[in-house]
């Protein structure tokens, strides 16, 4: 079976900055791939390239048998690849239900059907009590769940989650981890940008590490966590080869 997602040598430059350099990735169906790396490593740029918000200068992305070259984000969503935003972007004046319904309408053009679908998704992410509340009044953890619910309502095959746990306390994080696991078990593949190491180690089947726009290591969580290049990227060279006293 061909991979669900096949990224071949994509690059993106912003002036003198090489935000993503010759990045290649593959994801199998049903997989959870963690994408980690220090701040500024190019993770969010990579997401923007995959989801159509940016166009790669070089390289190609294939998803589920389709080339994504030249496709707009809405068309890529239509193929089943959906992203969330690191800085959540709820529709502030709309209720939680109406927010999620916008996502549900992608595959269910009838308002009543989309509303039912949205209700089901809202319950699934644990926002049931907030269904009729305006999104502007939600707390940050609730907004993160809303962001997730909206994306989920489009019925994706691959979900790109950009730091859905940032700013959450350990209890809230554990809740989201469980939720993401259940989403994955329902058959949705997940590409995850995350700074919370414990969460990303728990969730990911494989992890890819970016640094200065390049993939430096890729492999199973345990191997990646102890890899010298990863420690170097995060903590600096002296932690890999402790200087002699």
């Amino acid at each position: 079976m061909p991979p669900l997602l096949q990224v071949t040598g994509i690059s993106k430059r912003f002036g003198g900055l090489h935000a993503v350099r010759d990045l290649s990735l593959e994801m199998a169906r049903g997989e959870v791939l963690g994408l980690i790396g220090p701040n500024g490593a190019g993770k969010t740029t990579a997401f923007n390239l995959l989801s159509g918000f940016l166009t790669p200068d070089q390289g190609a992305v294939r998803f589920d048998g389709h080339s994504l070259a030249g496709l707009k984000p809405h068309a890529i969503c239509g193929l089943g690849l959906v992203r969330t935003f690191q800085i959540v972007r709820p529709f502030p004046h709309l209720s939680v239900l109406d927010n999620v319904r916008v996502g549900a309408l992608a595959r269910r053009p009838l308002m009543a059907e989309a509303r039912e679908m949205a209700r089901a998704v809202i319950d699934r992410v644990g926002l049931g009590a907030k269904t009729d509340q305006a999104a502007a009044g939600l707390t940050l953890p609730e907004r993160k769940r809303l962001e997730l619910a909206r994306a989920l309502a489009t019925e994706p095959t691959l979900l790109l989650l950009d730091e859905v746990m940032a700013g959450l306390n350990p209890t809230e994080t554990a809740g989201i981890v469980g939720l993401i696991q259940r989403i994955n078990e329902s058959g949705v593949s997940i590409l995850l940008i995350e700074h919370n190491m414990r969460a990303v180690m728990t969730l990911s089947h494989r992890i890819a590490v970016l640094n200065f726009g390049e993939k430096i290591v890729e492999g199973p969580p345990a191997a990646v966590a102890n890899h010298p290049r990863v420690i170097e990227a995060y903590l600096g060279e002296e932690y890999v080869h402790p200087p002699a006293r």
């Binding site: 707009k72 969503c77 935003f85 502030p92 109406d98 319904r101 916008v102 309408l105 595959r107």
Partner: protein, 315 residues
């Protein structure tokens, strides 16, 4: 709420029986500007794309049906559709330029204003449509030529236009189209990520809006019988179109109607009052003050505020 609407409609249908001709005229302006506001509401209120050049569509619709009627004898009942279609074509062009190249906020406002100004200059310098002298329709009182001896016929036509536009807006609001437009107004990038073809829906909104506005042009032409480029394409008319839905509640079905019931009589009253004292145009100062008050105290417009009051009273 339903019976309230039905009762209001019943009153409006019976009103001409008791009103004098001048009061009928005031209501005609209320309905007509509510209609134009409703047409603008689709793209400006729901989709949040602030077109400040909607007068251009009135002008195109007005000149089209007037010229077709005077030169070719085509009935304005058909001419209004031709004018609407021509406006929609120009709306498509403006929408394409604005949306394809991602002009948002002020830049879209400037584009639409510039477009209307270009139309005004073209009309001013085209002798075939009277140029700066304007274009005049001779009154014959022939209903087939959209001309009526009795002011009350215009009343019902204007009321009909307002109701049709309101019905269209209500239908849009209940469908995916409307839900998408509102979401586009809230956050375009989030919409794209959720599978909304924002370009297509903004274009559709612009096309429906410019078509309806163009249809309104015919009413303008055959109610006033004279078209002046500065009046039908000018910025003041664009402001008149925009200000009612904003005061009443942009992006709501009832907003433009409520806004027009507030502002049209006010404009009429101040025109008479200030006009007599040699203060013509002072109603624009009143508009300015009212707009400031609305922005400060009712940023979503009068209708949403009224609904909140209603809900509180019902509790």
């Amino acid at each position: 709420m339903k019976w309230l609407g039905a009762a209001a409609l019943g009153v409006l249908l019976l009103l001409p029986a008791v009103l004098n001709s001048y009061a009928v005229t005031v209501f005609i302006f209320i309905f007509f500007y509510a209609f134009l506001g409703q047409a603008w509401n689709i793209v400006g209120g729901y989709a949040g794309q602030l077109s400040a050049g909607h007068a251009a569509f009135v002008g195109i619709g007005a000149y089209t049906s007037a010229v077709l009627s005077v030169q070719a004898g085509l009935t304005p009942w058909v001419g209004m559709l031709v004018g609407g279609l021509l406006s929609a074509v120009l709306g498509t062009v403006v929408g394409y330029l604005g949306f394809r190249f991602g002009l948002r906020g002020f830049y879209f406002v400037l584009l639409t204003v510039a477009f209307a100004e270009v139309c005004r200059f073209v009309a001013l310098n085209t002798d075939a449509v009277g140029g700066a002298l304007g274009y005049y329709i001779t009154f014959t009182g022939n209903p087939w030529q959209f001309q009526f001896q009795d002011n009350r016929v215009y009343y019902y036509v204007a009321l009909g236009l307002m109701l049709i536009a309101t019905g269209i807006v209500a239908a849009i609001e209940r469908r995916r189209f409307g839900a998408y437009l509102i979401a586009i107004r809230e956050d375009e990038s989030a919409c794209e990520a959720l599978g909304v073809n924002t370009f297509r829906y903004k274009m559709l909104a612009m096309i429906v809006s410019s078509f309806l506005t163009g249809v309104g042009g015919t009413f303008y032409a055959f109610y006033l019988f004279s078209l002046q480029p500065g009046a039908v394409f000018g910025i003041p008319l664009s402001v008149e179109i925009i200000i009612r839905p904003i005061v009443g509640g942009a992006g709501t079905v009832m907003g433009p109607i409520l806004g027009s019931f507030i502002l049209s009589p006010l404009a009429e009253a101040s025109r008479i009052y200030f006009g007599q004292g040699g203060w013509a145009g002072a109603h624009l100062i009143a508009y300015g003050l009212l707009l400031i008050a609305v922005v400060l105290f009712l940023p979503q417009g009068a209708y949403p505020a009224l609904r909140r009051l209603w809900a509180r009273a019902a509790r």
